[in-house]
Symmetry: D3
Subunit: 246 residues, 6 copies
Amino acid sequence: MKLLVINPNTTASMTATIAAAAGAAAAPGTEVIAATSAMGPVSIEGFYDEAFAVPGMLAALRKGEADAADAAVIACFDDTGLDAARSLARIPVLGICEAGLSLASFLTPRIAIVTTMERSRVPLEHLVARYGKSHTTTVRAADISVLSLEDPRSGARERLRHEIRLAIEHDRAEAILLGCAGMADLAKSFETEFGLPVIDGVGAAVKQAEALVALGLQTSKHRTYAAPVPKTYHGVLAGFAPVEAA
Amino acid sequence: MKLLVINPNTTASMTATIAAAAGAAAAPGTEVIAATSAMGPVSIEGFYDEAFAVPGMLAALRKGEADAADAAVIACFDDTGLDAARSLARIPVLGICEAGLSLASFLTPRIAIVTTMERSRVPLEHLVARYGKSHTTTVRAADISVLSLEDPRSGARERLRHEIRLAIEHDRAEAILLGCAGMADLAKSFETEFGLPVIDGVGAAVKQAEALVALGLQTSKHRTYAAPVPKTYHGVLAGFAPVEAA
Amino acid sequence: MKLLVINPNTTASMTATIAAAAGAAAAPGTEVIAATSAMGPVSIEGFYDEAFAVPGMLAALRKGEADAADAAVIACFDDTGLDAARSLARIPVLGICEAGLSLASFLTPRIAIVTTMERSRVPLEHLVARYGKSHTTTVRAADISVLSLEDPRSGARERLRHEIRLAIEHDRAEAILLGCAGMADLAKSFETEFGLPVIDGVGAAVKQAEALVALGLQTSKHRTYAAPVPKTYHGVLAGFAPVEAA
Amino acid sequence: MKLLVINPNTTASMTATIAAAAGAAAAPGTEVIAATSAMGPVSIEGFYDEAFAVPGMLAALRKGEADAADAAVIACFDDTGLDAARSLARIPVLGICEAGLSLASFLTPRIAIVTTMERSRVPLEHLVARYGKSHTTTVRAADISVLSLEDPRSGARERLRHEIRLAIEHDRAEAILLGCAGMADLAKSFETEFGLPVIDGVGAAVKQAEALVALGLQTSKHRTYAAPVPKTYHGVLAGFAPVEAA
Amino acid sequence: MKLLVINPNTTASMTATIAAAAGAAAAPGTEVIAATSAMGPVSIEGFYDEAFAVPGMLAALRKGEADAADAAVIACFDDTGLDAARSLARIPVLGICEAGLSLASFLTPRIAIVTTMERSRVPLEHLVARYGKSHTTTVRAADISVLSLEDPRSGARERLRHEIRLAIEHDRAEAILLGCAGMADLAKSFETEFGLPVIDGVGAAVKQAEALVALGLQTSKHRTYAAPVPKTYHGVLAGFAPVEAA
Amino acid sequence: MKLLVINPNTTASMTATIAAAAGAAAAPGTEVIAATSAMGPVSIEGFYDEAFAVPGMLAALRKGEADAADAAVIACFDDTGLDAARSLARIPVLGICEAGLSLASFLTPRIAIVTTMERSRVPLEHLVARYGKSHTTTVRAADISVLSLEDPRSGARERLRHEIRLAIEHDRAEAILLGCAGMADLAKSFETEFGLPVIDGVGAAVKQAEALVALGLQTSKHRTYAAPVPKTYHGVLAGFAPVEAA
């Protein structure tokens, strides 16, 4: 199977981190195709960046489906544009927050998400509520920028460690879900250090995508995620107009 | 005060309907400035269209705030891009679903939203849940397109009436909230016909915007809606990159 | 329009504070008529006082509606007798907790109510739950009496400040809703001091009342808030018996 | 033990029905003292009547506690003034809705309340939500007046039967909770007729009151239900002012 | 009436504690029959022990019902096997967590459960959620073993005291519910020490059982708790197979 | 990897159906080991059967883990004994209801579970609530016995079809989750017939188990699912006593 993994920000070095995590998680028969969004922000930090990351992500998804991808992963922990993606595509589309929460829920009823910026806490709490996990999951932020994760001298990792410790002691967390695609390479070392499961959403989403493809399951096109109605789009986004399916 | 009312789709005739409703609701001292989005879909029907309506709406908001608008209304019942708008602007931004639900809640504990397309029910139910009104509010769809509301021969109004009747009889609704900005001109005739309050979100949002401005209240920029972090944006959306506030 | 603002306790000096706040918030065309309840407690602190404040408030409402008020505000943060008031009157009736929460929700998803007495926390948490805002709102008490707010030497303001600080730091509050009508004059100075929105429910309710009147909206008399059934009342409350509407 | 059972409306014939049900449920050592409220409405139908029934109920409670009652029951299914009563008294106070729901929950996870008037559905749904039973309990109304229950020719019983049937078939109810104190005498015949538990709240509350007294448990006076603060009350309700406990 | 009180663990000394608490709570006409489970764990600490305690508990229940018990109490705070017991028996069956929460809810809207082992917090939080009391109830653990409660030198009581103090100060608890059947003898001394209600679930369940029997109420056998379908059971549990009711 | 799939009832023919479904879903490198419980009921229909199915399931799990299974699936839609299993084992353990709901949630926000017996609806609704999916999922029962699924002349399939149709039309379901392990072979034909995703929990759980093993994730043994405390067990279940891990 061909699995499209989309980095919805435009930073190629982060795509590399994501692709490595996806490749490490993928089954032997899975070809991972990592795509970097061609337009939008270099990182997604809060609601504003998220809004501008969606068109580029959807463009990458449309191209990937045309190129015969069997499933897609949106590799940003905000699950950026996930509903729009499911409306656009017939193939299954996974968000890494939703996928990570699902896997974590099989391991414990007490989960903590540790993310980057304080402003991302409420957006993630909205996702957690929508996925029905408010009663099992808390969200903490290390107050670091997304791109600082790529700089070992930034102190970002130490701040993450500090929040993980607080999550275990004060929030009664029994497993940690890493709240940013850029943290994918940290899961195993943190797992060893803290002695409890540390889940990376990218790997989780890769396995869920493989699961759906193996079982022959696709997004329901009945009602909520029905294909977009063909219509005119204006301006620089005209090229994204939905058209009658062939 | 200057009140910006943004139609986030690109159909100018719908902007006219919205502007009329806004003007009718506005206080004597309020100057309503109606803006049609310059890019994106001609109507917003489901998650996909919504994603592509956000950049044009935010462009209109940015321009309006620069032109000294005191508050803004996003005149689409999906509250399209509302969180991004609140992050971008310092002035208050209102969505017509949130504003309509708030006003309706002062009149009764049993509300029914009647919207256009079946595919919009789940997105609206998500909004209702997020605004904390799932216990008082049901959502129905008349299975009509948004633009059919502009055509008196389309039968759209009769289908709306049918759903309103069902809402009153089967859902125990005691007030109706019209679930599309394009229905703004129908509120009063339906109110007379059905003998209970029928609320149009556009008017509701206009009054809420006036209220916030009169009270000197602005969006909290503490944490969740902090101004976007200055950074590079790529591609056709590069012009939307957030910059350091002067 | 004529707007009736009812202080449901019998302390005229508090009515003056409330009337000033209401007048400052009111639009030019709004005539504010402030009424002090003629019977019941001098302040409302907890469930018991609240029960005895309702008949006096309803008497003031009945008189005000007969005197052609277009809308009414109950200026006690417990939203004392709000449901009974909506059953009695045809004109819209606003509670200051409900109105304040609605306005605050347009500004941020993280609200803290700061009220007076510890015993009022649970009653306010019940209101917050009923209005669907438990997921966005926390309640704190400064452990001060209602009437101490009128005495600048009581230390009450400093205790309020202390709780506001805790709300911002520990509860992640991004806006403050003042939890007593007697705090109406403190909003602006606290807003300056803490650098985030501080909302007074009296002003919020005045604007919501104006909004409903401007839009021609009235309480739904369908089912829940139907006019009281004419019947006999006995004892000192006999004068309150509902009668057949003329 | 002495058990005060208060009918918070002023209709003595309904007190007789309630007293009979209470007496039938009471243990041999329990002396039931039935009190009819001396002031307020002849029946409680909706929020307005409820507000005016509270002072009379509290007067009866105060007198009963002074006369050495060990516990009290408020025999109206709206649990009229229950929080105020718990603040006033040291002895335990039971509402018949809360008590009935508690007992019913021991028998099945699917309960239907069948009450009198349509306008009482939302108030009862609020109680059900506050008691945490929304996930197990539905509310139906037979559209009959409270006092019609006393008239065998009114057809009220047949309408109750009709709603019970619908509750079993459509709401999957497995037990019925009678939603009015005036229905107390119908429980056993309905139980026989429908073949599932039919619970009367008056009997339930009597047993809960006996349980609390037997176990030596009293209302917590810590914070929420602390004794009312001594203060001045004005007007016809001046006599209800809380005073310093001796 | 005959009341069966089942200790679902196999420790007879704990049965003695439970029997004493039940006897102290029982009405004069109630004969308490205490049964110790004949098979399974010596104490129930977490999900695993709970699973193996159920067959022995059900065997004791079956025997008790055959011996003409009128009601039964399962005296373990996990409400071990409660749903299975209600399916098996026609007589009412009470769990001590559910019964204790019900009684506590009549006394205050702020309850704290204090239990033994940390691993029991999540199971009890699940019960609290299912009983609809998450909004009023918090759960704390003293990190002690169940059987240490029987050893006065173990320090267990001091650790319970410590958690009760934290519950009152930090969780705003206004009443304490003891979270283990083995704590039944501590309620009264803690009540005196802390000055607020301390509830033992065993006593609570005894009174609820008496209440149901006095009112002639039995478990609803309609749907959810219908008698088990007669069928073959294999292996060492073959003797537990449900058979056609005579 | 070795994947243990446990049929917690004792009917070997149902194990064969389950094993076929598991084998069809398994990846090439996965060895499926299907185990039939050696003790307990021939089918699990309601709470009573469930209680007696747990010891046999746990015995099979203990043996499987000793025989080097990498993960386990409990193939009964009640997720029978899942918490106990996670406490016992270090390897991941999946329930088919939880796994099926997780996968279905990636495909649509409107799911219907269609199960066998009416008495199983409430138990499944409890699971759905605990997994946080009450807002997306409804439960229907076809009123058929579990073993009738194995008899093509029983009419069971037609009744399932009938409920699926009602779920789509009345509950707005957009995907169907089959609510019994014995239905595993029906998914694909129903999917073709109804034109929307039909999910079998057995296949879903197999893929989730493979995902966890591939990612090196195991049950968190921190607090809730800590290994059972070594202690004495009595009677026929003595052999199940937890012992000190080597």
